[in-house]
């Protein structure tokens, strides 16, 4: 098997075959997290720096555990508590981090494009843990892993991604990936939360949830990203929940074997109710478990071989 990427910035950079490789290998890595001794010596002596310039619970913890279970050393740095607050530019910060010789930098940043710039300028591996509204590739990979684990395939699945599509890097990464894997995608949301140019994504678009809910195999709910919204996009949360929330009535309309996903963090009562989030169709916590395995695979692929040899 060959892997020719130094970095993971975007699902758009990966071929369907490479995505399949990542998903296949993740099953082996998942087994490690179920052992009593959850550690293998594979990346001993490697250093992974987690630079998180934006809030994170799951992704940061998941990357940190993934690295530690492969025996890499990890250090995490967040915007608060770093010199970011003293006016240091992000490129200066990155060059300083690089001077301390990490093998991999996992970066989350509030604006699109920074991970790509770092990948071009720094010799170490860069893994994008979410850049603005651009991409969140590891989330899409763990989502695809979770769907494939449940259905045994991705090809031909109908995946509905519902909510704040405009500000969602998770939606973008999933759309790129799912299309490559032969799934059918419908994005659903109020017109004000669909991005300009969504027609060019090659997906179906709907501003109504009900006609989609009974046809999808996967319903992926997204949080309304208030921190990225500058204008009012809908009258109030109650109205949003009524038209675009996944509630008991809509769960009952779903296909018998359809599943519910959410990348987290959830705003219960807004885009999803307790019935939907905690019911037996929800695979939300499986997604979290799978996230560690998928990130172990990516760290292994990024750091495991000497790709600068030739």
């Amino acid at each position: 098997m060959s892997w020719s990427h130094k970095d993971l910035i975007s699902i758009a950079d990966l071929s369907g075959e490479e995505i399949t490789t990542i998903l296949d290998m993740s099953t082996s890595f998942k087994e490690i997290s179920r052992r009593d001794i959850k550690k293998v010596p594979t990346l001993r002596g490697k250093t992974v720096v987690l630079l998180f310039y934006e809030a994170s619970t799951r992704t940061r913890l998941s990357f940190e555990l993934a690295a530690k279970r492969l025996s890499a050393d990890t250090t995490a740095l967040s915007a608060s508590g770093s010199s970011f607050q003293k006016g240091e530019t992000i490129m200066d910060a990155a060059l300083n981090v690089m001077a301390m010789a990490p093998d991999c930098i996992v970066i989350r940043y509030p604006y699109a494009g920074l991970p790509r710039k770092l990948a071009l300028e720094l010799p170490c591996s860069i893994i994008n843990a979410g850049d603005g509204t651009h991409e969140h590739p590891t989330q899409a990979l763990l989502d695809m892993y979770s769907m494939r684990e449940h259905f045994g395939r991705l090809e031909g699945l109908h995946v509905a991604i519902v909510g704040d599509i405009a500000h969602s890097r998770v939606a973008r990464s999933n759309v790129y990936g799912l299309k490559k894997m032969g799934a059918r995608v419908t994005v659903v949301g109020p017109r004000t939360l669909l991005p300009p140019g969504v027609e060019t994504w090659g997906v179906e678009v709907s501003c109504e949830f009900d006609p989609v809910v009974n046809d999808a195999d996967v319903i992926m709910m997204l949080r309304v990203q208030r921190e990225r919204i500058e204008e009012q996009c809908f009258p109030n949360e109650r109205e949003y929940a009524h038209f675009f929330g996944l509630n008991k009535r809509r769960v009952d309309m779903m296909k018998p074997d359809a599943i519910i996903m959410h990348p987290g963090p959830m705003n219960r009562g807004v885009e999803i109710t307790h019935d939907a989030a905690d019911g037996n169709r929800s695979i939300i916590l499986n997604q979290v478990e799978n996230g560690v395995a998928v990130r172990m695979t990516l760290l292994y692929l990024s750091l495991g071989g000497n790709i600068n040899v030739d």
């Binding site: 098997m1 060959s2 892997w3 290998m25 099953t27 082996s28 890595f29 087994e31 490690i32 052992r35 009593d36 001794i37 550690k39 293998v40 010596p41 594979t42 490697k46 492969l70 695979t297 292994y300 692929l301 750091l303 495991g304 071989g305 000497n306 040899v309 030739d310």
Partner: protein, 179 residues
């Protein structure tokens, strides 16, 4: 040194020799479990377990080990070794493990396999069984049970060929190392 066996009958004869050696050495089969190293060792382990279950009348647990993540040359290789699954469906604690590999050469795979097994628990003891010992050790590791000692030039590799259903051994392949 004798000719290296190639066909299924000769392999079968080696398996019989190994079976007799195991039965002569191991007195109690209550705590015995086989672990085969992927890929090659698992085929031998499977074949031996079939024969030994019949001979001893006991159920003998068997697992498969993937040692990729325990290799000491991961960061020195150009191609990425594919990670496959370890599947040990029993607790290794206090078991008499018979670790099985097809070929014993530098000893590095066995070192990795032992490290892997001790991460899963604390076995009572670990025996090493190999079908071929080709010398050339780089670590102080020796087999307890050896099918046959062979001699091969460094640039050749020897591998077991699985049958079509991947359930038994069809033969032996000797090929040149790709440089």
């Amino acid at each position: 040194m004798a000719e290296i066996p190639r066909g299924p009958e000769e392999i079968q004869a080696l398996l019989s020799t190994l079976t007799e050696e195991l039965l002569a050495t191991i007195r109690s089969w209550d705590a015995v479990a086989f672990i085969g190293i992927r890929t090659g060792g698992d085929l031998i382990a499977k074949s031996l377990v079939r024969i030994l279950e019949e001979r001893t009348g006991k159920q003998i647990p068997m697992g498969v080990l993937d040692i990729t993540l325990y290799r000491d040359d991961i960061t020195r290789r150009k191609a990425y070794p594919e990670v496959k699954s370890t599947d040990i469906p029993f607790a290794v604690d206090d078991k008499d493990i018979i670790l099985v590999d097809d070929v014993l050469y530098t000893g590095r795979s066995i070192r990795a396999a032992i490290d892997h097994i001790v991460d899963l628990g604390r076995p009572g003891r670990i025996y090493l069984l190999v079908m071929f010992d080709r010398g050339g050790r780089e670590l102080p590791i020796q087999a307890d049970f050896t099918g046959m000692k062979i001699s091969l030039p460094d640039e050749q590799v020897i591998k077991l060929e699985p049958s079509a259903d991947k359930d038994s051994i069809a033969g032996v392949i000797i090929s040149e190392v790709k440089r």
